[in-house]
Symmetry: C2
Subunit: 266 residues, 2 copies
């Protein structure tokens, strides 16, 4: 039965664990398999061609394990690889960009939305396009925040220095009277407190991880693909030695990561 299969989730590293966490919260009866391509992290600074190749190799690994759906829990890969994954693999494929964009459009009463992400995601204009596909009147303001990822991985998401970096990156965006801010990088949910303090309550923060999990939950329900039997434990794979992933990833996943296996892909 297809419904009893696991959901496959991949990212370049630990960031996608924020998406996995939301999936496990919103779909507690599902079995999840996570692949972090830690031998080739980060994707954000690499070319579209390279990232599309890596994404196909990750998807190949997960589909070979028989997953019923693929979640691309990485903004960079979602921006450049969704079409090729949808064409090449026979399971439903979900990215993190459309769900975040859709939620931002719902919230944009004054028709102004901010998007923050890595350099690669911002340069790809993927969120701007996804938002304009839904409502071309919306003005999109963007800002790349390259230091947020290393800050989150250092465990400094709520450190005063993260607040100062936010002020440095986001001063212009804060002056733009945005209604909603899309956290366009899977690491950024860890910075929610600092971003909320900086922007104040008039700006709604859109967490792509939450929206993506909700989209997957809805789609599986509609397709009759929700799991019925009790799930086994989630499984975690990485492409480099697991030690750093286990340590840093624990912060993202919210509890210790154990039994992470190293695999070769590509």
């Amino acid at each position: 039965m297809v419904s009893e299969r696991a959901i496959g989730v991949f990212d370049s590293g630990v960031g996608g664990l924020t998406v996995l966490k939301e999936l496990s919260r919103q779909l507690p009866a599902e079995e999840l398999i996570y692949l972090g391509d830690t031998a080739r992290v980060p994707y954000g600074t690499k070319s579209a061609t390279t990232v599309a190749r890596y994404a196909q190799e990750a998807a190949q690994f997960l589909t070979a394990l028989g997953v019923k759906a693929l979640v691309v829990a990485c903004n960079t890969a979602s921006a450049v690889a969704l079409p090729v994954l949808e064409e090449r693999f026979r399971v439903p494929v979900f990215g993190v960009i459309k769900p975040g964009a859709a939620r931002a459009v719902q919230l944009a009463r004054g028709l102004r939305v901010g998007v923050i992400g890595t350099e690669g995601t911002i340069k790809s204009s993927a969120y701007t396009r996804a938002i304009h596909d839904l409502d071309p009147r919306i003005q999109v303001r963007t800002a790349a925040c390259p230091l947020f990822v290393p800050l989150a991985e250092e465990g400094w998401s709520e450190h005063p220095i993260a607040g100062q970096v936010a002020r440095e990156y986001l001063g212009d965006l804060a002056a733009e009277q945005i209604d909603a801010l899309v956290l366009g990088c899977t690491h950024y949910p860890l910075l929610k407190k600092i971003l909320g303090d900086f922007f104040g309550s008039s700006v709604a923060l859109v967490d792509s991880a939450e929206e993506t999990a909700a989209t997957v939950a809805r789609a599986l329900a509609e397709a009759g693909l929700l799991r019925r039997s009790p799930p086994g434990p989630h499984r975690f794979f990485v492409t480099d030695v697991p030690e750093r992933f286990e340590r840093v990833g624990g912060t993202f996943w919210g509890e210790p990561l154990v039994g992470v296996k190293q695999v070769e892909i590509g």
Copy 2:
């Protein structure tokens, strides 16, 4: 004539350009070939086995171009791959660790040396071992500074935030009465001003890039391998699209990088 061949230099990304710059300053008559393995950057968070494989592939690429010497302008690769490169390739191989360690030993009058670097370099204890090989009495104090690399690549090396990050990472080290501090990462020469301000004039900063270039210059002179004919232009190769390397690398190299070519290795 072997002496007329170029010197091959590689790193995972832009950091090794600080070593290239010192080579070009101390050996202005030499032709230099640089390879930045930008499709697989960073090495610092990857396993020793993975990094050793990448280093061999980089060395293979450069020796195929006929270089007369190899400079491993990357602390992580120098820490884990020098023996295998020396065994496998027939040209002299230079790393960045021994030269920095040797200079620190010269400067360590009070027998206390500090070493800062990426998580990978610090965990490898490569500097501590190299220093103790020369003088086992020296006490080595280390600190990993993971955010220094992204700060340097963001162009924030002299930004007040870099100063605060330095205070956060290095408070304990500053209390240790060290005589010399080894900048054990090729990115760190860009942070010299902030580190000098923080530690004051009683701590000598050891720039591994300078020491490595001096070591290469001495070794080539002793072996009669200094170039005699006028050099052609330096050549730059990367393994991912050159755009980001050209932009960020310009800060490290000190002038615009042009004509960077993308190649496949490994």
